[in-house]
């Protein structure tokens, strides 16, 4: 088990302890894997730190952010397909990739 700051939390990390808000309301139970939605929820509750289970490879859960951004952009472009010929759609695609990247990293 290790204690991490919320800003370092990533999707698929598994909670090693329950997470409560300031009023002691249970937000997430021990044992669940973090999702995009739950990270967003924790952030909006002002949770600052949590305990997660140790991953197998210590560095495996910290992918190179630049590489990750690349992956998000590729996936985004695939979903936009040939609509990207429209410059407005290309701009929407670019903006969305940046926002989704930011969301996943809560930076």
């Amino acid at each position: 088990m290790r204690r991490i700051l919320l800003k370092d939390a990533r999707i698929d990390m598994v909670l090693a302890a329950d997470v409560h808000n300031g009023q002691d309301m249970l937000l997430l139970k021990k044992g669940v894997a973090l999702t995009e939605k739950s990270l967003r929820m924790l952030k909006s509750w002002g949770v600052e730190a949590l305990r997660v289970q140790e991953a197998d490879g210590a560095s495996a859960d910290r992918p190179d952010p630049g590489k990750n951004q690349d992956k998000i952009e590729k996936a985004m472009e695939a979903r936009f397909g040939d609509t990207l010929a429209d410059p407005v759609m290309a701009e929407i695609c670019r903006a969305a990739a940046a926002i989704v990247h930011e969301r996943n990293h809560l930076s």
Binding site: Q23, M25, K37, S44, M76, R79, I92, A95, A96, A98
Partner: protein, 290 residues
């Protein structure tokens, strides 16, 4: 004209929970600068379900107020007009999405997130261009894909076939519906809106959200929801049953008249408004009874 299949679906539509008239009255009220907290309290107390839900929420740990709140007026004073409206509106529509049976939970959840994302996006776009009916835009967008719920409940085989085709061939669900079925979710959605006596603006925006230029008097509102749908798909807020991003209708884009340079700002605003409201509705719909 409705096909026999569509008519058969419509005949059974009464089984769906209805959207309280209150919901639309509340959004109209927000747009009227002369309406007061007391007017809003009146509308809410007329509706027992909404009253109970509101009091349950304000007394839940989500707000953590130390003393018990027992009147609707007190709740409005504490939470404010805007949050009350958002709460009642979204939780009422949520009931329709949640359904009584617990099948297709994941698909319903995804569609709910998609609808909420689209509603938030439509409101942000509306504010940006100073549209005077941003709350109605929110409702129209929240309901734009309601026809998919109708199909999930009354024609689940159709819905499964259409979503499977959309996935396999990486196409829009609407195109898959058009290929395979005698109806699309825009038609079932409009019929439901008419059945619920929702205003013409809501029914038309539902019907034309994929073909906004045909929406006549509501072409601008349909265009906004069309763009909102694209924004929330791009941001991956939920899923409408397919994975494709629809192409942008260029006449709709010109009609809305936002600058390309403002897209990133608008989308960032949508992202943050969505995370606020989704936490709020999660708490509202999951609030434990007191």
């Amino acid at each position: 004209m409705p096909t026999p299949k569509l008519k058969a679906i419509i005949r059974r539509i009464d089984d769906l929970p209805t959207l309280p008239r209150t919901v639309f009255r509340i959004s109209e009220m927000i747009n009227n600068p002369r309406s007061s907290a007391r007017d809003l309290a009146q509308v809410i107390t007329d509706d027992q379900v909404l009253t109970a839900r509101l009091l349950r929420l304000v007394n839940s740990s989500f707000y953590g107020f130390p003393q018990r709140i027992t009147t609707v007026t007190a709740a409005i004073v504490l939470l404010g007009f805007e949050s009350i409206r958002n709460l009642l509106l979204t939780t009422s529509v949520f009931d329709v999405f949640a359904g009584r049976r617990h099948d297709r939970q994941k698909a319903r959840e995804n569609l709910w997130d998609h609808s909420l994302g689209c509603a938030v996006a439509a409101r942000v776009i509306g504010k940006h261009i100073r549209h005077e009916k941003t709350e109605e835009l929110f409702v129209c967008a929240l309901l734009h894909d309601i026809g998919k719920i109708v199909a999930m409940v009354y024609a689940p085989e159709d819905y499964d076939r259409a979503t499977r085709k959309a996935e396999q061939e990486n196409m829009l669900l609407r195109d898959a519906e058009a290929d395979l079925l005698e109806y699309t979710h825009t038609e079932t959605g409009r019929m439901l809106a008419e059945r619920w006596n929702l205003p013409a603006m809501v029914a038309d925006v539902i019907y034309y959200h994929h073909t906004p230029e045909q929406a006549g008097a509501f072409a601008k509102e349909a265009a906004i929801v069309h763009l909102a749908d694209i924004f929330c798909r791009a941001l991956q807020l939920g899923s409408g049953g397919d994975n494709r991003i629809p192409s942008l209708n260029s006449a709709a884009w010109d009609r809305i008249a936002i600058r390309k340079a403002d897209i990133a700002t608008i989308m960032t605003e949508i992202e943050s408004a969505y995370s606020d409201i989704s936490t709020f509705t999660d708490a509202a719909t999951a609030a434990p009874s007191v």
